[in-house]
Structure formats: C-alpha cells, structure tokens
Assembly symmetry: C2
Homo-oligomer: 277 residues x 2
C-alpha cells in the first residue's frame, strides 16, 4: 500500500466477519476526502491472531509515517488490549453505544462473540432464509408461475430493469419470497397482465428505469442490437409504465438506485414488515 | 407493540436505507437481555417525514411509559434536530466516529446523504456486481461448466451443504464470480474430480457439514427419503472429505456457520482480496 495526501491505510478488525465494521467504516470514510487502502481481518479471537494484525499495523505506520485507521469490534478484553497498543487511530464501532444503552436502560450488557447470524440457536431463521432464497431462485425471470400464493411480492418489469438482483437481495437479507416476471414482446403488444396474476394483484410491484440508462445497460450486454436501441427501450418502457398506471400497480424508477435502495423503497411503499437477517 | 421487562421498542431512523443502522443495532442489542420490538424508518430526509417518526416515538413512549431506543444516522442538521426532540434514548451511529476521524486526521468531513452504494457515480462497480450475480446464477448447481476461466472460486460439496446461498452471497456482497458444483452419485462412486476442474485446481474449495446437520436439512426437504437418511449422508460426506484430503482441496465445515461466516472464512482461507460492495 502506498500513501500520499489522498490515501490512508484502513484496517477492519473483528472477532466476527468484520462485515459490520467494514460497512460502517465505508459510510464514515465516505465523508472524508482521502482514498482508503482497505484490508479486513475477520475472526481475530486470539492473542496470536491479533499479534499478526498488530504487525501489519506497525509495518503500515513505518512505511507511511502516518498512523493507519482501525475500525474494530472485539469483545475479549485481552485481545482488545493488544490491538489498542498498535500505532493506529483506533475506533471501537460498538463500545460507546453499548455503554450508553447500558446507562440509559440500566441493564447490564453480556458481551459475546459476534455470532449474530449464526445458525446454532436459531435454526428456524436459517431455514426461513434458505427457503426464501430457493423460492426466489425457482421463480426468477418468469421460470414458473406456480406457487404464487406463497410469494411475498411479485416484481414486474422489462428485461434489465433490475428485477433479478433486487429479488435475490430481498430473499437474502429480508427472507422474502420473491417472484420476478419479465414483460416479453407479446405481453407488451397486448398490453395486458397475465391472468395468473389477477388474484395476486395486491402483491404486484413494478420496476421501471430511464430509457437512456436501459439502453446503456442493454448495450453493455448486446451491443448494437435492436434490443438495446433507444427506440425499443423507450417503446417497452412507455407501454409498461402505461400498464402500471392503468392497472394501479405501484412502481419505482430504479435508474439511480442500488439494490439496497430499490429493496428498501419497495418494502416501504408496499408497507411490508421488515425483518433484517 | 407491547412492552414488559423483557421488551423494548427500538427504532432505526436514517436518511438512507437504514440497513447500516439496523445491522449495528442488532449487534449492540444482541448484548442486552431485553427483546427488541423493532421498526425501521428509511429515507427520512425531510421535516415532514421526521415528524411522522417523532409521532410514532411519542406514541410508543405514552403507551409504554418507557422511552424507546432510537439508532439513527441523519446528515441534514434540521432533520436531525427535530428527531432529537422526541422522547427517546437516541444513538447517532456515526457522529462520534466521524468526529474522532476528523480530529485524528485533521481533515474536514463533507457530510452527504448516504448514497454509499448508489450507482450514479460508480457505474463500473454496479456493472461488476450485476455481472458477478449473473455469472454465479448461470453457474449454480453445476448448470454449466463453461467459462470456468472467469470464475473467482469454484465451490464443491454434496447436495445441501450450503453451496448456493454462499455463492449468491459472495456475488452480491463481494462481487465474486462463483461456480458451484454438487457431487452426484456417480462422482461419489468414482471418487474423482471432473477433468474440467484440473486446470482450475487453484480455484477449488470444498464445503462439508456434519452428518446429523445434513440429515436435518435434507429431512426438511424430503422427509423419510433415502437421500435424507443418516447412512446416505454419512457415506457421501466421508467419500467427499476423503477426496478433498487426497486432492489437497481446502475445505470448511459449514454446520454452525451463517452464509456471512462461511463466505468470510473461505475468502480468508483462500487468500482472496476482499472488496465489500
């Protein structure tokens, strides 16, 4: 790793996956102008493992002459103490909030290793999540329209409007059973909903996208094709949006949104109960 | 929502998706003995929207006689001020760390709405992620073994050892292109690797699982079948583990791990560069 005014070494250190540390670190660092050179150290649970991390921090400091930033979350006191001896600016992402919750609620925290998503104790949650992923895979891209009564939501949209990644994210993070169905040429020329969807109207949700963005995405896939042409994209989108409006199907424009944002907005608009895995 | 000694109303409030707030809140609350009644309020960016949240907080306080807990992240000062007037124990999940990074680095933070994963500025990242998801879907469950040269990793294991959820999580969160291949009866009786894998040996990674756990998972799917029987599970696992050892393929036991943990451990063991989306 090199350093200059615009860059900084950043380490994420955790006794768990370090994914929470890293996610939080990204949001914090997003507010600063330097470019982070990042490295994650998961499962740092022993003095031996933390010694390796400390060594890397020392190397970084010696090389750059500037202390690296360390975002960490470590429950075991002796492991934590060792980490805090390293030459770094270190931020415990949990400790100050845990302390404040303790003071406010007058309850004693019981520190434990971060196994928040482990399957050991909560097998039902695990099976719910796996079942949601399997259901969603089986109902991706209109593969089948059987079993719609088990769906939590049915996403509709033209090819490349973001249905598949959104569906998988919804299943993975929120345990939702998602059907996604692409409008094909015939649906578009008839401008109608499939009869299979009639009794599940309340589950329907539309995705749309700007024609320019759709063209860009389709060009990336099939450059120069009619499928990717601005005219074709515009025709499909105009027709589908008219259908959404006529049938009173709620819909959102995915053009400048991440799958996290699309998912969150859909769940909010559809009034779905949120349960993060 | 009801409250008693064992439960507390908890709100996650953010001008973004609130997923970071909620993830952090889960880890913090995992250390306390009460049961959280949770509700998330994403995209709280205006005085109007925050007024609705404040109203819900007031209702909770009046109903329970105990202040609810609020984990929040809001950049706009006027919106934040309104939230802080509500009768709650409120925790800004970012502010204190941002302040300390500012002090330590002597750099000025530029607060911005949390669009960390938006596609606007970083279209390449978006396409990388989508491409990884598509590649992984196309190579799920041995559907095809074409294009292995593009794979970042190839997961091997018996049916129900956790390959599909792990593959999708790797693609979604880390942008990895993952192939997963289930050992079928013929592979197991011949106890050999497919010749297609030979030149990609360095990409192979095995998943295994305890026979009892595998039986439980398969019973959940096909109750009473030979497929789910302890003998069959044990036979398959013994054979496959022997193969992993003989061929020097690294492997892990997924029995008590979440997909996040399986993913993190594989990436660590395989020495893969980590880049969180």
């Amino acid at each position: 790793m090199q350093i200059n005014n615009q860059s900084r070494d950043v380490f994420y250190v955790s006794d768990g996956t370090a994914i929470t540390c890293e996610t939080l670190g990204h949001v914090v660092l997003g507010q600063f102008p330097f470019i982070p050179n990042e490295k994650a150290f998961p499962f740092v649970e022993t003095p031996d493992k933390v010694a390796d991390v400390v060594k890397e921090i020392e190397t970084s400091y010696q090389r750059n002459g500037v202390k690296p930033l360390v975002f960490f979350s470590i429950v075991l006191p002796d492991v934590r103490e060792l980490l805090l001896k390293a030459p770094a600016f270190s931020y415990d992402v949990l400790a100050s909030i845990v302390q404040r919750v303790k003071d406010d609620t007058q309850m004693e925290p019981q520190p434990k290793l971060q196994r928040s998503r482990s399957v050991g104790k909560d097998s039902d949650t695990y099976f719910d999540r796996i079942a949601a992923i399997e259901y969603t895979l089986a109902h991706d891209d209109g593969i089948t329209l059987k079993g719609l009564e088990e769906a939590d939501i049915i996403l509709l949209g033209v090819s490349r409007s973001g249905k598949t990644p959104t569906s998988l994210y919804m299943a993975m993070q929120f345990g939702l059973r998602v059907v996604n169905y692409p409008f094909i040429a015939e649906d578009i020329s008839l401008m109608r909903l499939l009869p299979e969807f009639e009794i599940h109207r309340h589950k329907l949700f539309g995705l749309t996208i700007n024609p320019e963005r759709l063209t860009e995405i389709r060009e990336n896939r099939l450059s120069g094709s009619e499928y990717a042409s601005t005219e074709q994209c515009k025709l499909e989108l105009d027709t589908v949006e008219a259908l959404f409006r006529r049938e009173a199907i709620p819909y959102i424009n995915t053009s400048s949104l991440s799958v996290e944002e699309i998912t969150t907005r859909i769940m909010e608009k559809a009034g779905m109960k949120r349960r993060l895995f």
